[in-house]
Symmetry: C2
């Protein structure tokens, strides 16, 4: 996958234990995240916008309307930074200073390339749909020629990516603060799915898709474990 | 608060119904988010890194170690973009093309200023702690002089900020797809707190803080409503 631990641009400088460079760690965070923050520069001003993404092999995909100013800018092969962050818990220490969160973040640098050709476009669109909800692609109407034409799909090679993370209990256990009578520990943050809301115009005889039922089952299992 | 709807740099160009500029909308998203993505430019390369933040009046604060390369760069008054995104649900349409997420995002442009003076520094640090967990500040040891000295606190005036959002059901209800026998609707995404994990070195007679108990109570109330 070519994640380059030697790239000084993505080397994590402070808190060395927080940095990881291997492709497996990158893939694991990208699998858990849902939204990427994509940063680019336009006339010296950085912009950072949330986008859905998909991850296939050593590439990350984003997409949007062909008419969007941002997509046009990104497709000009300007340098970008794509960041995906998942937050896992509140880190509560005895001192205000040591409060933090447990998290994992992928930071990928590079330049987007425009995906050309219906085969890779369809593969990317399938990946977006499946990332949102596994099993969904086979249930829905596939993109038409006109829809493909209206969409720009961009791909980024993940060859300059790193993972930054914090895990574990607060850091003040071996300081003078350890004896303070203040509860310290981690409160896990969990993502759950709520009761699905049918579209108001849904025909009354259409039952919930298998993909949605599976999502709720998995969620209930996680919730009770 | 001075949020400027006329700023063309933060005007939302596509999907006009998705843009909102008022200070109240900005404040509401900032209150719900936990992590900001901060974008800045270093030698033409944009970087986008996750940071904890606090929001007081018309200012947004971030902080970090005085020795951090990123903090040094941000304190040089370079142009930045600070983005806070909350994701509310999976939007499941009958067509792959119309799949999306419901979300709200604040995008703020500007330049950070370094907070000087112990009073504003302490106020900002109190805000960070209280944002992480309301009620926590009064329970914990306050920052020492040495800790204040080791910390850089930066503030951004929110006078060029906008909210981008998507709400509601999928958009294909009035298209030819509406009659397809595919379930469509929204699956809400909810954030919950798990069972707190005490620090391994916590003295056995220290009970959970009131702030933590309150957090869990509020969470249980939301969960059952």
């Amino acid at each position: 996958m070519g994640v380059d631990p030697a790239s000084s641009r993505v080397r994590v400088r402070r808190g060395a234990r927080k940095g990881r460079y291997d492709a497996e760690a990158v893939a694991s965070v990208l699998a858990r995240g849902l939204v990427a923050h994509v940063a680019f520069v336009d006339r010296e001003q950085p912009f950072c916008l949330p986008m859905l993404y998909a991850h296939v092999g050593d590439r990350l995909y984003v997409h949007g309307s062909r008419a969007s100013r941002m997509l046009r800018r990104l497709s000009e092969s300007a340098p970008v930074c794509v960041t995906v962050t998942v937050v896992d818990g509140l880190v509560l220490a005895r001192s205000a200073f040591e409060h933090s969160v447990n998290y994992a973040s992928v930071i990928a640098l590079g330049r987007f390339a425009t995906v050309e050709g219906e085969a890779e476009e369809l593969l990317a669109l399938e990946s977006f749909t499946e990332k949102l909800l596994p099993g969904r692609w086979r249930e829905v109407r596939k993109p038409s020629r006109a829809e493909l034409k209206a969409t720009t799909i961009l791909s980024l090679a993940l060859d300059e990516a790193s993972v930054k993370l914090r895990t574990g209990p607060p850091d003040d256990g071996r300081s003078a603060d350890a004896t303070l009578p203040v509860w310290a520990g981690v409160v896990p943050i969990e993502t759950r799915f709520g009761e699905p809301l049918p579209a108001p115009d849904l025909a009354p005889d259409v039952v919930r898709s298998a993909s949605v039922e599976r999502l709720l089952e998995l969620d209930a299992q996680r919730s009770s474990s």
